[in-house]
Amino acid sequence: MKPIIKAENLVFTYPGDEEQKPVKALDGVSFEIPEGSFTAILGHNGSGKSTLAKLLCLINLPDRGRLWIDGREMTADDVTEAEILAARREVGMVFQNPDNQIVATIVEEDVAFGCENLGLPPAEIRRRVDEALADVGMTEFARNPSYKLSGGQKQHVAIAGTIAMRRRCVIFDESTAMLDPVGRREVMDIIEKLNHEEGITVLIITHHMNEAARADRILVMNGGRIIADGSPSAVFGEPERMWEAGLDVPQTTEFAYKLRELGIKVPLDLFDPADCAEAVAKAVLEKRGGARREAGS
C-alpha cells in the first residue's frame, strides 16, 4: 500500500543558548508508514520520539532530510503554506495531557473546533460532531462541560475531535500516560477500533509494552535513531536489545526468555497470558515427562 508518511534521513537539533548546549534530538531517521497501518514507537525519555511526532504533524520542520506526507514532499523548496496546511488536515495528534488540548468548555463545541477551522458549513459540522461523539461513545456528554470528565473521557473528546476532521492518520503522543488503567484500556480500545474499522493510520508513542504489543509494527528509538523496526514478535524477540535501550519487554516475554535459559523451549512472542501459559505448560509437562522416562529407563 502507498505510504501516507515517508521519512528519509530526518535530522533535527534543538538550538541551544548560553547555558544549554544544542541537543541533537533526531540523527538520521528513515521509515515509511503505509496507509492503514498500526505502528508503535518505543524509546526512553529523550530518545527523540516526541520530536519525531512533532515533525510528522508539521509543527516543526526537519533541519535536514526529506519528509513526504501523502505523496507530497513537505521539505521541498517549492512547498507552499497552503500545501502544508492541507497536509496538516491529514495527520493529527492526540497529546499526553488531556487538559491542555481541549479548547472549548462544552464537549461538543470542542469536538467541532477542528471542523470549524476547516471552514465547513454548520450543518455538516453538526453531523460530523454527532457521528464522532457516537463513535467514541460520548454522545450523552455532548452538552457537558469538559472539566467534569475523567482523564480517559477527556482523551475520548480529543479523539472525537480528530475523527470529526476525517483525518487519515492520527499520532498518539503518550496519550495514555496520565490515565488510570481503566482509562488506558478504553483509550487503547478506541485506538484499535479506529484502525481496524475505519482504516485510519495510527501511530502510538508509549512506555507501556503491552500497548505496543497490540500494534502491527514497532519502531524502537534510541539516541535519535531507529534501532529496531519490525513486528512485536520480532522486536520483543530480542529482549537484550530492549533492555540495553532502557526499555522493557512484556512480562510474558521476560518469563519465556528466562525459561529458555533453563532449557525450556517456549516462544518469546506470546503476549496473551493464556497463550503463553499454554505453551509453557506443554513444554514443562513434556520436559517433566522426559525426565521421568529417563529416570524410569
Binding site: M178, P181, V182, F255, L262, I264, C276, A277, V280, A281
Partner: protein, 289 residues
C-alpha cells in the same frame, strides 16, 4: 508500635457532607501499618485512596474517628498539626510541578526551613536527601527548571526526604516515566526505606511495580478497605481483585492460566523471577543451583 493507625475514620467532602445524597469518601476505615517496610495502596480512581493519603498527613481532618502516627492522635491539638505534616512526608502526583525556588538546593531546603532548621543542619539535610534521591551534587546549584523530567521528579522527592519524615507517602511516584526511570525512582525509594528505616506508603495503579517493590498491600474499594495483606496473598486472590475492577500483574495471569493447564505453579506468583524459580522447582531442580 504501628507507624500509622486509623480507627473508624469516616470522611465526606464539603458538598457531599450532608443531605440525603451524602457520599462518603472514607467509610469507617480502620487500619494499622507497621513501622519500616513498604506498603502499597491500590484501588480504582475514586475509591478513596487520595483522601486516605491526605488524612494520614493531616491535610484533611476526619469527620469521625482517629488518625494516629506512632501511637499519637494527630488531631489531639489541632494547632500542632504542622509537626505531623513533617512526620508524614507527602509526595503528590507529578511533584515536579511544585518546584519554585531559584536553585535545586533552595527548593529541597524549603521543608526543613519551615521546620525551623538553620544553616549547617540545613546543608547537611539537603545533601543527604539529594543523595537518597539520586541527584548528583553539581545539580544542586542549578535552577530546578533546567533539569530533565526525571531529575525534576527526584528533586521534588528530595524536598520531602529532607524533612526526614518517619513516614514517606508517595502518590504515583513513577507516573509518566519510562521503564528505566521507573526502576531508578522506585529502586531509590526502596533503598531509602531500607537504609533509613522509614515507613513508606506508595499509591499506584501499576500492579507490576507494586508487585516488585511492596511488602504488603492495602486494597481500597468504594471508600472501604477490601483487604490488607502481604503482597503475595493479595495477588493470589485475583478473583476478588477482579470483582472491584483491579488487575493483577501479567505474570500472575500467566500463573493462573498455567494452573488451568495442569501445571501447579501456585497462586502466589507475582514476579517473573519467582515464577521462574517455581518452574525450576516443578522440574525438580534445586533453585539455588
Amino acid at each position: 508500635m504501628n507507624a500509622i493507625e486509623m480507627r473508624h475514620v469516616s470522611f465526606a467532602y464539603g458538598s457531599a457532607k450532608n443531605g440525603p445524597t451524602a457520599k462518603k469518601a472514607l467509610d469507617d476505615i480502620s487500619l494499622a501499618v507497621e513501622s519500616g517496610g513498604i506498603t502499597g495502596l491500590i484501588g480504582h480512581t475514586g475509591s478513596g485512596k487520595s483522601t486516605l493519603v491526605q488524612m494520614i498527613n493531616g491535610l484533611l481532618k476526619p469527620d469521625e474517628g482517629e488518625v494516629l502516627l506512632d501511637g499519637v492522635n494527630i488531631w489531639a491539638e489541632p494547632k500542632k498539626i504542622r509537626q505531623f505534616r513533617f512526620k508524614a512526608g507527602l509526595v503528590m502526583q507529578y511533584p515536579e510541578y511544585q518546584l519554585f525556588a531559584e536553585t535545586v538546593a533552595e527548593d529541597i531546603a524549603f521543608g526543613p526551613k519551615n521546620m525551623g532548621l538553620e544553616k549547617d543542619e540545613l546543608d547537611r539535610r539537603v545533601r543527604e536527601a539529594a543523595r537518597f534521591a539520586g541527584l548528583a551534587d553539581d545539580l544542586l546549584q542549578k535552577s530546578p527548571f533546567d533539569l530533565s523530567g526525571g531529575q525534576k521528579r527526584r528533586a521534588a522527592l528530595a524536598g520531602v526526604i529532607a524533612m526526614r519524615p518517619k513516614i514517606l507517602i508517595l502518590d504515583e511516584p513513577a507516573a509518566g516515566l519510562d521503564p528505566a526511570g521507573r526502576r531508578d525512582i522506585l529502586g531509590g525509594i526502596k533503598r531509602f526505606s531500607r537504609e533509613s528505616g522509614t515507613t513508606v506508603l506508595i499509591v499506584s495503579h501499576s500492579m507490576e511495580d507494586m508487585a516488585m517493590y511492596c511488602d504488603d498491600i492495602i486494597v481500597m474499594a468504594h471508600a472501604k478497605i477490601l483487604m490488607h495483606k502481604p503482597t503475595a496473598e493479595v495477588f493470589s486472590d485475583w478473583e476478588q481483585l477482579a470483582s472491584v475492577g483491579l488487575d493483577v500483574p501479567l505474570i500472575t495471569r500467566v500463573a493462573a492460566a498455567l494452573i488451568e493447564n495442569g501445571v501447579d505453579i501456585g497462586r502466589d506468583v507475582y514476579t517473573v523471577d519467582y515464577a521462574v524459580g517455581k518452574v525450576r522447582e516443578l522440574l525438580g531442580e534445586n533453585p539455588e543451583s
